[in-house]
Symmetry: C2
């Protein structure tokens, strides 16, 4: 088993034999986050490690009723094979919402339903990337995006980020030097950093994309979860050239377990993504798609989002406040306006990875930051999730973590 965990292991030797796996498998690696999550499932541990929404806020009854109605009204159609593009009424609902709430110039035929936003990344990678092609990313970057792109043997062009997101002023030189095929970005409430790309940088990035004709993959799973500050236009709404491929999902708002995400993009791109999805898994679960669409006919989605924002916003502030009181002075941290995470820079010399086992002994968990770096990993960062813990647990967990950090400085 341990051979699987070294990132260079492609040949796996078992007592019986050796399997010849593809080279790409050595690039993906086992997710450090995933391995950590297994440990943190013990109930006595206060975990800031996962990226989980709060299960007590899932609209269980509405979704149960949505499923029941689908079985009652159209059971045999819902259980049958369906189109790769996805359930049309759901695509129409999504297109309407993107038009009305996000000012994206789109329509149902420009929407592909995916098995979560993660599959959106996979399909874009499959459709665009040759081995050795480069993807421009912010550093640090959403870990599972790095893994999805790595599965197609992409290389990364990493540009820095600061409190206002990707340092877009570095992008043009990076493009000239490295000629990336795609730009990947989480502009709203970044994972792992929690930062938001400034309006000026959004306009600059769209301008660069247009001038160099490089598609932008705008991954926006958290966009509906803004707790403070002014809403920014999504990159897709600024794009007039069909160069932004917009990914989103119900995972953070309705349910991650249902695995329903979507891609909104130019028709030509959607048509190619449909071909890729057909070869990958034919289509996304039809019962779930129809149940989501049916639920949204009567469920007050906006009131639900407002409730999520109220609860998560409080948890976010609680964590920011507790960090200020419990962490040593030399610590820095982001102050997210939305999303699920904040990002902590520990005092120089500390290592998130080395701190984790000690923290687990103190019954508090987090994710070390190093695996999120596409280049030049720094050991003294950690990612903290606030959506999945109630305020009193956040206060207690941050106090524990503060003691662990302080004990290590001395």
């Amino acid at each position: 088993m341990s051979n699987q965990k070294t990132s260079s292991a492609v040949l796996v030797e078992s007592p019986l034999q050796t399997y010849r796996f593809a080279h790409r498998m050595s690039r993906i690696g086992v997710s450090a986050v995933r391995e950590i999550l297994k440990v943190t499932e013990r109930p006595e541990i206060i975990s800031f490690a996962g990226g989980l929404p709060a299960p007590e806020l899932f609209p269980i009854e509405a979704l149960a009723e949505g499923h029941a109605t689908v079985f009652r009204e159209s059971g045999s159609a819902a259980l049958q094979y369906s189109t790769t593009e996805g359930w049309l009424p759901l695509r129409e609902w999504i297109a309407d919402r993107l038009k009305n709430r996000r000012s994206i110039n789109t329509s149902a035929e420009q929407i592909l339903i995916t098995s979560g936003s993660q599959q959106g990344i996979d399909l874009v990678a499959k459709t665009f990337l040759e081995a050795g092609d480069k993807v421009l990313v912010e550093n640090p970057c959403y870990l599972a995006a790095l893994q999805a792109f790595s599965a197609y043997e992409a290389d990364f062009v990493a540009v820095d980020s600061d409190d206002h997101g990707m340092c877009v002023e570095q992008v043009e030189a990076a493009i000239q030097r490295e000629q990336p095929k795609l730009i990947y970005i989480v502009a709203d409430f970044h994972n792992p950093k929690g930062t938001t790309l400034s309006l000026e940088r959004r306009q600059q990035l769209i301008d660069i994309s247009r001038r160099y004709h490089i598609p932008i993959v705008e991954d926006n799973p958290y966009g509906a979860l803004r707790y403070r500050g002014e809403r920014m236009p999504v990159l897709a709404s600024l794009d007039e050239e069909g160069l932004v491929i917009y990914l989103s999902t119900f995972s953070k708002t309705l349910s991650p377990g249902m695995r329903i995400g979507w891609i909104a993009a130019a028709k030509e791109i959607i048509q190619m993504l449909v071909v890729a999805k057909q070869a990958t898994d034919l289509h996304t679960n039809t019962v779930a798609q129809r149940a989501a669409a049916k639920t949204l006919e009567t469920f007050d989605y906006d009131a639900h989002l407002a409730r999520l924002c109220e609860v998560y916003g409080e948890r976010c502030l609680t964590m920011i406040d507790a960090i200020g009181r419990h962490f040593p002075e030399e610590t820095k941290w982001t102050r997210p306006e939305g999303g699920l995470f904040l990002w902590v820079e520990l005092p120089e010399g500390l290592s998130g990875a080395e701190l984790l086992p000690v923290a687990l002994e103190e019954r508090v968990a987090f994710v070390p930051g190093a695996p999120f770096f596409a280049a030049n990993p720094k050991p003294n960062f950690i990612r903290l999730n606030f959506s999945n813990s109630k305020p009193e647990r956040i206060e207690e967990g941050i106090a524990r973590l503060g003691r662990v950090i302080k004990a290590h400085i001395r």
Copy 2:
């Protein structure tokens, strides 16, 4: 739109611009079957084109109740993120069944839940294949498997097949000549042919796999649907070296729309497939997995399979009998013992593709055989599905098709 349909189109020019898609996209191509299915949805057409199970046999109430129970008993867990491997009770049910009914030496930790059997093929391809690696297949072959492997830029080594499945006596020479990385086979009730691999050939193939150390991907979506003849051991049950990767699904027995399939393989292979799936779509819909497991706790699955076999067996015989009466004497066809399809060789000089528009005018549809060939496509074959039409519709549809064929011979 039309550029998407030529198999060499990678550069797609839109009015606004050109996108640079990956070369692999030109290999996948748009499924001819899928394009045909769009036409055949008109109710006046008797369609033998799709591979659809009979919707009137879906256990709608049992599955509705399974879903309702999951929401009632464990809604918040079912709606949350879950493990990539899949819902443990479902993996245990599958492992038990593979042990008891298929004599496969397996356990829950050797099972990975996939989004349909199609994703099983995709993940195996992702895990094993470099660009230019070769996959040994029977000719003709399941079309969407060719597409899934092509997405990883695999090449094919095509060996012939006859009424007893893959001509295994050709395999050893093909391996020595071409050194394929994998062998892909549908041994039970082949798609498109409906044939079953003989016992002797199964043993020979396992022996060859062992001696040359080449994994076999045994794709078995139809295995539970045997209507006549003696049950054959699956290849996975004959394998003692961890070299058979066994794929199956609930798509043909419970519901294709739910997208639940599985892979049973050696632990080392499953661990690598889990890494690949994590980067691809994190995990399969948890509500659906739990609902399937919950349903199977009380639903009489064996009685359901017996009923499917009774109905489909009758439809299969009806079609065989009708072909004998309505098709011209020079026609040949397979006589499947199970599955969903039979395969018709039209008289020399006829072309399934050319016949299709005429057949559609006569309100009957089928799939031309040529796209199923991995090499040397032959025009004078067609695939007929019998599971999705009632006997009287089969009789009428085959009569219509017989008239179309006869008119073309003269």
